[in-house]
């Protein structure tokens, strides 16, 4: 059922983020990335382009990697969200983080949260990927520090099950 929302009128949304339930009033035009950073205070999700190319704002919505800058907050109503802050409770996430550090897969760290989130989803769907598949997954992300070499190695190591 479609309900007309007046300009500046707020809508109530309910979402579970990193296992914690939130109920918030938001304007329908508010981007989900801004909602996470400004309304929920989870500043680990970064905004790099706001047109869906750089991938820095990637989060998991019901387990799927999505670009939070290409979504409105109201679209997250009733969903389960995982952000980089929640990876501490995610086994694949913890392994990836250890591998990223080992392979110097991050420098400034700004793109890293989004890359970690996409990698978690990718490895959940595809536990034994080829190197080329890893590169193709990463091609949805811009990193201007590392030249990607360390990131590819880190994801590859996590698939091989070599990490702690």
């Amino acid at each position: 059922m479609i309900k007309k929302v007046e300009s500046k009128e707020k809508m109530k949304i309910q979402t579970v983020i990193n296992g914690k339930s939130y109920e918030k009033e938001v304007e329908p035009r508010k981007l989900f990335s801004d909602f996470l950073r400004e309304d929920v205070g989870l500043t680990g999700t970064h905004v790099g382009c706001e047109h869906g190319v750089c991938g820095a704002c990637t989060v998991l919505m019901d387990g799927k990697a999505v670009r939070s800058c290409l979504m409105f907050a109201v679209q997250a109503d009733g969903t389960k969200i995982e952000t980089v802050e929640g990876l501490v409770n995610n086994k694949t996430g913890r392994s990836l983080k250890a591998a990223f550090s080992e392979h110097h897969a991050l420098q400034c760290g700004f793109c890293t949260p989004g890359i970690l989130m996409s990698s978690v989803e990718f490895l959940n769907e595809n536990p034994q990927p080829e190197k080329q598949e890893i590169k193709e997954m990463l091609s949805g992300h811009l990193c201007r520090c590392t030249g990607y070499t360390g990131i590819v190695e880190a994801v590859q190591q996590t698939t091989d099950g070599n990490s702690k």
């Binding site: 382009c49 750089c54 991050l106 890893i134 811009l142 030249g147 590819v152």
Partner: protein, 808 residues
């Protein structure tokens, strides 16, 4: 444990950055009641502003204030610039706009959404003027003039004559000439600019957080523009910056603009640049036209070069520009023992966005023509390019080597590094493979580049933009100073405060490594504070991260401060043990007499004495353990009267060999292998060093093949989003082999030189050389970039007939 320097310890920065606990500027709320700014930008490249009507905007929900050029005129002065022409550059357009994206009005509102709503309601009446974007057109006498008070678009022009070029050109067997175009591209860190400004009216005090990372000479420029004493502009930088690669180290007009916004609105103001704003109007490298003449003998000896290089600095000249023209002044002839050089440098203003530093600053603009020219000369002489390069390289026994323009190359062994590169890439074998491939209609190519990588800029180099007479009017500029503080608190914890303002280079890690080695404590016990605060940090005009200066300069300041603390501890030990200072060392948490280890005292006790019991300190010693050191290198002298200057303190070397395959039907280039050999002296942390190289190489790859801020003739930006401005992704980065050679610098205490910019400088040249080589049967000349398929395809189509010589 005593050998922490030179090892690849894990980065201390990683854990917080992977937990969402980094502190980037947009994450901060350093003041209460922060409001948000949005900027109205010019849709015209060149126009007079007739009228701005913000009445409606001011009535809109949440809007606190609207600023226009009038406010800027009232509260600021033009930014000082490093050229003699009186260019009026303000943080916002005051009467006319000179590039698309130039700020025209600022709205301050309760949040960014409301601020952007109000921006849409501001009405501006423009009178459009003819625009000029092309370098050569802008220099014509009938070109539209951007700055009427100057009457020309030329902001800076100098002529230099080193050695005896006229004689060299007379004596040479031949002169080979060509013109090269280098495009405008940027660095696009994934984090855009961010500024949070506060103004305390009772103290006339500006406090501004931003992700600007030096050089802090620009603090002078910004405080002068705000028309306040420099201690009334307090600049602060959070410990995490989401990348920069140079563009956050040019002067930030937004620091001044948001300072004035906070002042007029009476609330703290936060502004975060969006990506469109970043591509339109932040900063970029310069496009450059270079004309080169080379005086060459038939045997391949190059006797001299004449170069005219013209940089496009955009609508205004913004400090530290025109430094792009001069950053490589001392190493204009690269790795070659050429003795004679004539040079003309010109900076022109056009209706493109203003420029500044990007990784490689000036190096890629220099080496693309120079290294392309080497291949071109080899071809004209029917020599192999590797042979020509090798023949002209500076020999290993010539160091320290003084270049004609005054550079002093501190150390190196270029032949050895080149040989490593050629052997690793299997140069000769590839030549065989190539001949076979050509016969089969497959176009394989191999290219090389041999470049000198300057690091640790001399603050004086920028002043060669002025004539010797102009320079004499003011204090000479020299040096490359950096400061650091090392302290030990009463419980024995070690803290290091640095002013190198890292943006991902791992300075916290390497600083901890250095201090842990000097004080013989574990690196993970050393806390490094990387936040910058001009009110409290030990900093110099040269502080910041640019010109790859951490390894030669920043690390040396840290090392020196740690040595001061160590010496103080050992002086206390001398006093307490009665053993001479020079016999003492630090081991396992104790000061120990090297010859008689029974004489020892715990560091804990020494530290305790300094803090809790200063009366037992040696006569005259100050209490506490808190030592700052400032470090510079005397080789960074002011430019001489003859215009020679040593623009950098250390000079590394990079030899690249790249193999490609080109599809002649589509013009598509595939890089098969990229071999790069680096000599950056002693490596402080090899993993971090390789990370810097890989990042710089990917940026160089972008410049070579993908990235361009393209404009149409009216000055409209054509690549204003990441759908049009293409950055390399993981699938574009080729196989890369890195080899190191470590010839220590004799000038730095740890023997280190800078690195990380080398391949940004070399990649466009080496890839273009490889592509040209692959297309030898078509006899094409690559003299412009990027190497997009359409550009290469057109060059192939221009050749009517393919001639494959039997002897290939």
């Amino acid at each position: 444990m005593t050998d922490k320097i030179g090892h690849s310890i894990r980065r201390v920065e990683d854990a917080r950055l992977m937990s969402g606990e980094g502190s980037y500027v947009d994450d901060l709320e350093p003041f209460a009641n922060v409001h948000h700014a949005a900027i109205l930008r010019s849709p015209y490249a060149h126009a007079n502003i007739k009228k701005i009507n913000a009445e409606q905007a001011l009535t809109m929900e949440g809007v606190v204030e609207v600023l226009t050029g009038e406010d800027i005129l009232e509260h600021t002065k033009p930014f000082p610039v490093g050229v003699s022409e009186p260019i009026n550059y303000y943080s916002m357009a005051v009467d006319k706009v000179r590039f698309v994206g130039e700020p025209v009005a600022v709205v301050v509102a309760k949040d960014r959404y409301l601020a952007e709503d109000a921006v849409d309601a501001i009405k501006v009446e423009y009178e459009p003027l003819d625009a000029v974007v092309d370098i050569e057109e802008a220099m014509q006498h009938d070109a539209p003039v951007l700055h009427e008070n100057i009457g020309t678009n030329i902001a800076n022009q100098r002529f230099y004559d080193y050695g005896n070029s006229d004689k060299a050109f007379e004596e040479a067997d031949m002169v080979i000439s060509h013109k090269f175009n280098f495009p405008k591209y940027s660095a696009t860190p994934v984090e855009n600019y961010g500024v949070i400004a506060d103004y305390t009216s009772s103290e006339n005090q500006y406090t501004v957080w931003s992700n600007f990372h030096g050089p802090f000479t620009l603090h002078t420029v910004m405080s002068a523009a705000l028309n306040v004493p420099s201690n009334q502009l307090r600049l602060m930088v959070p410990k995490d910056i989401g990348g920069s690669y140079g563009i956050k180290s040019g002067m930030f007009p937004y620091i001044v603009l948001m300072g004035v916004a906070a002042r007029k609105a009476g609330v703290p103001v936060k502004w975060t640049e969006d990506r469109q704003e970043n591509l339109l109007a932040s900063s970029s490298g310069t496009d450059r036209v270079t004309w080169i003449d080379a005086a060459v003998n038939k045997d391949g000896t190059i006797l001299g070069m004449k170069m005219k290089m013209v940089d496009n600095v955009g609508g205004y000249i913004r400090a530290p520009e025109p430094a792009s023209l001069y950053r490589t002044h001392s190493n204009t002839l690269g790795a070659y023992k050429i003795k004679n050089l004539q040079m003309e440098t010109v900076a022109v203003m056009t209706n493109k966005s203003p420029t500044g530093l990007i990784r490689g600053y000036g190096g890629q603009q220099l080496y693309f023509p120079l290294e392309r020219m080497m291949q071109h000369i080899a071809k004209k002489l029917d020599m192999d390019a590797a042979e020509l390069v090798e023949k002209n390289l500076i020999p290993s026994d010539a160091f320290p080597y003084e270049t004609p323009s005054g550079g002093i190359y501190d150390s190196g062994n270029y032949q050895k590094a080149l040989k490593t590169a050629l052997d690793t890439a299997q140069y000769n074998e590839f030549r065989q493979k190539q001949k076979e491939a050509w016969k089969k209609g497959k176009y394989l190519g191999i290219g090389l580049a041999a470049i000198v990588e300057p690091s640790g800029s001399n603050m004086g180099y920028v002043t060669v933009a002025l004539t010797p007479e102009e320079r004499e009017q003011s204090l000479p500029k020299s040096g490359c100073a950096e400061g650091a503080t090392v302290s030990i608190d009463p419980r024995g914890s070690v803290t290091v405060r640095i002013s190198t303002v890292p943006s991902g280079q791992g300075h916290e890690t390497v600083a901890a490594q250095i201090v842990s080695e000097v004080l013989n404590v574990e690196a993970d016990k050393v806390k490094v504070i990387a936040e910058m605060d001009t009110a409290t940090n030990p900093w110099s005009v040269a502080s910041g991260s640019y010109s790859s200066r951490f390894a030669p300069i920043g690390s040396s300041a840290i090392y020196q401060a740690a040595q001061k603390v160590r010496n103080k501890l050992l002086r206390i030990a001398e006093h307490q043990l009665g053993e001479p200072f020079q016999h003492l060392t630090i081991k396992n948490g104790r000061a120990v007499a090297e010859e008689d280890e029974t004489k020892q005292i715990s560091l804990k006790r020494l530290i305790g004495t300094a803090h809790w019991n200063p009366v037992d300190l040696p006569e005259g010693m100050e209490p506490g353990l808190h030592e700052s050191a400032f470090y510079t290198i005397s080789a960074a002298k002011a430019p001489a009267k003859d215009d020679t200057v040593n623009g950098s303190v250390t000079y590394g070397f990079v030899a690249d060999v790249v193999t490609v395959e080109v599809d002649p039907d589509t013009g598509e280039v595939e890089i098969l292998d990229y071999v790069t050999v680096h000599d950056a002296g002693k490596l402080l942390n090899p993993t971090i060093a390789n990370g810097q190289i890989l990042g710089g190489l990917a940026h160089g790859l972008g410049g070579a093949m993908y990235e361009e801020l393209a404009y149409d003739d009216n000055g409209q930006l054509l690549s204003g989003s990441f759908m049009d401005y293409l950055c390399p992704t993981a699938t574009e980065v080729p196989n890369i082999t890195i080899e190191h050679q470590e010839t220590p610098s004799p000038l730095t205490p740890l023997g280190a030189k800078g690195l990380g910019e080398g391949n940004t400088m070399s990649a466009p040249a080496v890839i273009a050389n490889a592509v040209t080589d692959a297309l030898t049967p078509f006899d094409i000349m690559i003299d412009d970039l990027p190497l997009s398929p359409d550009r290469i395809w057109r060059k192939i189509q221009e050749k009517k007939r393919v001639v494959v010589k039997e002897e290939f």
